[in-house]
Structure formats: structure tokens, C-alpha cells
Symmetry: C2
Subunit: 406 residues, 2 copies
Amino acid sequence: MAINFKRFFKRLEDINNLKNKSFEKININRIALTLDDKIARDKIIIWMKNLNLSIKIDNIGNIFGFYNFKKNTKPILLGSHIDTVRNAGRFDGSLGVIGALEVLEALIKKNVTNKPIGIAIFTNEEGVRFTPDMMGSWSFTKRENINKIYKIKDNNNITIKDALKKIKYLGKEKQLFFKPRMFLELHIEQGPILDIEKKNIGIVKGVQAITWLKVVLFGKSNHAGTTPMSNRRDPIKVFGEVSSYINSFKSDRKQQMITIGSLNIEPNQVNVIANKIEFTLDIRNPNDKKLVQFENNLNKKIKELCFANNIKYKVDKLVNFPSVKFDKKINKVIINKSKKLKYTYLELFSGAGHDAQMLANICPTSMIFVPSEKGISHDSKENTKKSDIKKGLNLLYNVTKELLKE
Amino acid sequence: MAINFKRFFKRLEDINNLKNKSFEKININRIALTLDDKIARDKIIIWMKNLNLSIKIDNIGNIFGFYNFKKNTKPILLGSHIDTVRNAGRFDGSLGVIGALEVLEALIKKNVTNKPIGIAIFTNEEGVRFTPDMMGSWSFTKRENINKIYKIKDNNNITIKDALKKIKYLGKEKQLFFKPRMFLELHIEQGPILDIEKKNIGIVKGVQAITWLKVVLFGKSNHAGTTPMSNRRDPIKVFGEVSSYINSFKSDRKQQMITIGSLNIEPNQVNVIANKIEFTLDIRNPNDKKLVQFENNLNKKIKELCFANNIKYKVDKLVNFPSVKFDKKINKVIINKSKKLKYTYLELFSGAGHDAQMLANICPTSMIFVPSEKGISHDSKENTKKSDIKKGLNLLYNVTKELLKE
């Protein structure tokens, strides 16, 4: 077999600092543009240089490593991200980056091709410190002007540009400084479907639409023991009803996902009625129209509840990405190769957002999923069986080899 | 008139650092046992020394200033607290302390009495940094062993004993080192009733029972975009239903107060289902049995909701004070004096907890309320009309004078 799994797992262990750690102690916090992110970037660049890849860094800190890339040629691009959420697992993102490096190394050492091929490591896919998520691929594919992106700040008022400078990854290459021939991303599913259906591989038809809203409800602070219930303007009351409304859709809207993930109240004291509650809504649906319809109904409901309870409010849209369909030709190659390798597979939509959905705007794109045990993700208990990781990697190698022939 | 209102307002301005501040800029944060608390304590002790009062500090930092107090005599005690909540108004607590000082000064300078009389400043009435609230009067009246109280810690793991040492208010006097003949506390209502009913004075029949609960719901963190709604263990869902349940009692339980004042979730990220939510419940009722009944129903409801949603939980009781009835004889004197002074008045229960409810355990006790504009309290917009403050002070003077005759 062309792939060196030992090397792959050693590199993964290395960037995640997993040496001598028991599974229970895994706790990865490689938030984008922190020192931990920089350390991992530096390591991967050394590995890429050892392969004689030419390194390019663009103006949002995306790292590219090219083999045989000349001007006016279009490389096949493989890759993903290495930033993580807080208390993350080891595979989310890193699998697609270290996996791409391994595939490239195997292709080069086997002298498979002279065609241009590249690896991409996209900045800030998770959006933990800087919003929106998928920021690196969003910028590379020119979804937004770079100077507007530079103004985005974290909670400590540090701009993305200053954070890039600080870790020395503010690169010179412009947005879309080259056009990939196609893009392919290997990733864990981050959901339970492949695990439940006992399949090795997910063929990804596309990514569902995502909207993030931030809702702020403004009430009136007052003493918890002296203010009659009927005289209150308590934003918690409205929040509770919004939460109940959201969860009432559980049974009849199977594909609608809604999550209240972040929640903060002021002044946050036992004996004081809150004057303000801020919360986020993560809304996803494979069908753009249904998502908009749900969002409209939700907005209407919030308006009604706030009016009835004398609560002022505002709703800001933090993120809004439409659904994306992946390339059918690439998926056909993935299906054929899976069959040939006797890997079981399933076609599905991605519930999570991925850099691939940005790349789909500029070139034929698809993804390969491997199963997540119990569907656990964005948590230190996230895991994929070693045998499934190996199958995913081997499939990525074989599909890339096939695509290079075209 | 015996009372020097100018001196009173100057002192209030002085301890609240209000000099040259417009009403909009008032923002008092004199949290118990912080430097701000110490500065105010030091100022008041100087004023008490100027009156030749003998100063005693007990082992929880309560400050007492006595006039003509000898061993085995029982002084009439006036007082309240000077610690505040965050972003507080100027009168909550301070009115009863600076008011008591003013009444004592007037009585002394008018040579009204030779009988012993004292002022009390009780430590940590608000319970913001250290729980429970009313800690100083709770300790003085021996509701709990001092060594148990010393172990109480703030969120930074600092014990109450170390905090007292740090501001140099760990005194030598033991719990209940003297027995007051009676206790009288002047305080703002902190509720809207006197303001709505347009009365000058509140005659306080007692204090409603208070229970503070801390509820923790444990769910399962997971990816917001890939975890089907039916596979989730989201504690926010249960929280929303608990909030809706609580607020459904609004109409049919007029005297039941319930507040969710404090709320924290983990990991608090837009795209991650929460694994934990912690919130507090402040429950009050003038009727002890009804409070217990409500608490039992609530516990049952939480249990049912957690079971139905596969959520683990725990409920801790942070505070539990039964209702208190104040002294009818003292209240009769307050009513008679109000009539004589032609102040309008109303008999009512206190919605808030007060040091007086602790003192009621050891001596005849009552309170005088003055109106709070719009019922606003525990907020920088808390206010009482100057004319009402003057009436309250004048009434405290006249009632104390009358009680000294007995």
C-alpha cells in the first residue's frame, strides 16, 4: 500500500501533543490564531518543506503547499483546517490536512504524476474566536472583501489582522491568487449517521444551509423579592418561551436543526431580575427555502412574545451561508473507488459547515466522510476507529490518483 | 426639628462618593468586604467616634457604636447595612445606618435620654460575594456556628475570614456579645406598593420566607449541525420548560415570587450543544407552608422534565429563611407617631430580606419603610423622594424617643 499509516498517525499525534496521553486526557484547544495554532502551523510547514513543496501564505493566513505548480496551471487541491473548538477531539480538520500531506507524499514517492497538486490549510474554520466560521476559505474564494474581513474583532477587541500579524501568518498572496482545478476534503462526519448505518464511507452530496442569529432581549432589572410577578419585565421569561417554541419542532421537522449554544445574562445575580439576555441560534437545513421560512416564523414568534411581555429586542444575523451541492462527477469517482476497494458507503448531506462549501463556489468540489463514533463531535470524546481512518485515507489516495489521470 | 437633614444628606453623599455626580452617573458597587466597603466603614467609625460612641467590632465584622452602654444593660439598637449589590442605588441599607447615626446625634445633642442606645452596621446583607445574604445579622444572632461561617468562600476561593482580615474588620467580640432591648431598622421598601398606593410610610408586619436554590442540569455536548434533534441531550431544552413552568404561576399565585437571576452554560459556543447549565431560583412567599409546597412541586417538575429528556441534574439549597413576624407593640408606636405627624401609611409584608428578620429571633423588632419610586431597587435608578426620606428619618427619631421612655 502506498500510504504510510504509521507516519500519518505519528504526525497527527505530534500536532495534537498526544504523546503519552491516555484517551481520557485528550483536551485539544487549538483555537484559530492562538499560539497553539501557530505551533501546529510551523510543524506542518517543516513537513511540507521536507517534501520540497513550495509554500505560499495568503492575506488571511491560509497555508498552501504546492507540488509542480507553475503559473497558469490549475492544481488539484486537497486540504481542510487545523484550528479546533474548545475541548476538541483529534480528527476534526487535522485528518484532512495531515491526510492530504500523506497522500501527496505517497504520490510523489511513487512517482505517480507530474501534474500540479496542492495542499490547503484554511484559517479559522471553527469560528470560535473570530466570526464567521470557515473564514479562511470564505476569504480565499473572495466571498467578501479582505479589508472588511480585517476589521473583524474577537471579544477582546483584537482584529483578525493584528492576530495574524502576531503569529506571523499575515501572508502576501491575494484572495484567489490561483484557481484550483478541483478541491477534495477528507473529514470526519461529526454526526451519527454512518455509525448508525454501519458504513465505512460517506459520499457527501452537499452541505446544508446555515444561519447564525444573535438575539438580545432587554428587560428591566429589579429586586427579586419585592417586584410583583405581574409588574416584571423579565427577559428570561421570553427566553424560556422561545426555547420551548424551538424544541416543539423536534418531531415534525426532521431535517431542521436549531441550537441555542451561547447564552449570557446581566447582571447575573441570584436576587436580581435580569435586564438583558443574549443568546445565539444556530439554524441549519439542507433546503434553503425551508430555512428562510423557519427563520421568518421564529422572528415573528420572538416579536409576538416580546410585545406581550413588554420586552425590547434585536436580532442580528451573524452568519448566513446557503446550501451547497457538491460535484457529481467527483462523487461518481469516489463511489467507483469505494466499490473497488469493497468499502461500504452511504450518500448523505453534511450537517456541519466545511471549507469545501466555499471552494464549491470556484471549482468542482466534494468531500469524503469517515464515521464518528456515536456521532460525538466538538468534544474531547470525538473518535473514529483506526480502521475507518485507514480506509478514508486509502480512498483519498486512490480517488486523487484517478482524478489526476483526467 | 431635632434632625439635621443637611448633615444626613452630606454624609450619605460622602459614603457613596456622589459629590458632583449627576443622577445618571450613580453607580455604586460597595460589595461586602471589598476595599469600597472598608472605606465606607472607616468613614462611619470616625463619625461615631466624634460622637464619643464606644465602638465594638464582632467576629463577623459587624460594627456597633454605643451611647451609655454598660455591661448587663440592654440598649435599644438601630441600624442596617452599608454593603450593596452591583450597580446599586444610594439608599438601600445606607439610609438605615446614616439615619440611625443622625437620630442618635439628635437624641444626644438634645439631651433626650441617658438610657443605652446603639447603632449596628451588619456585614454582607446583600450576599453578592459571599452567600448567604444577611450574613452579619445571621452570625450575630447565632443562627450558625462562627467556625462554619468562616469556611464560606467567594468565587475566587477566598474565605470570609480571610476577607475580613484583609480589610482589618475581623473583630474580637463574640456572637451575641450583648442582647439588644429591641431593634428598629429604617429602609426603603424596594417594591412598588407604597408608590402605587401613594403612602409616605410602610409599617412592616414581617418578612416573607426566602429560599435560594441552585439547579445544575447535565446534558451532552455535541455538534449543532450534525446531531439530529431526537438524538440530543440538550439541557437548554429542560431549562426553557422550567422557566415556562415558573412563569405560568403568575396569575393564580399573587404572593408567590420566583426569579431566575443567575444563569451560566458550558461550553457556551454558538455551534455546540451545551453539556451543562447552572441556574438559581429565588423563591419567596409570606406563607412558609405555601413556599415549601411550591418548592416541592417545582422539584417534582424538574425531576419529570429531566427524566423525559435524559438529563442528569442536582438541586442544592443555598439559602432557606422562614417567614418572620415583627413586633406588634413597636408597630403600634410607629402607627401612633405616623398619625400624630400626619404621615400617610400602609401595613405590608416585606418582599426583601432584611437584617431585622434575624434580630427578630432575639428581641422585639420592626422596620419602617419609605417608598421606592416605581418600585425600582437593586439598580442605579433606585430612588426615594427627598421629602419621603425626611419623613422616614423624622419618624425614626420620634419612635425611638417614645420607645426610650418605656
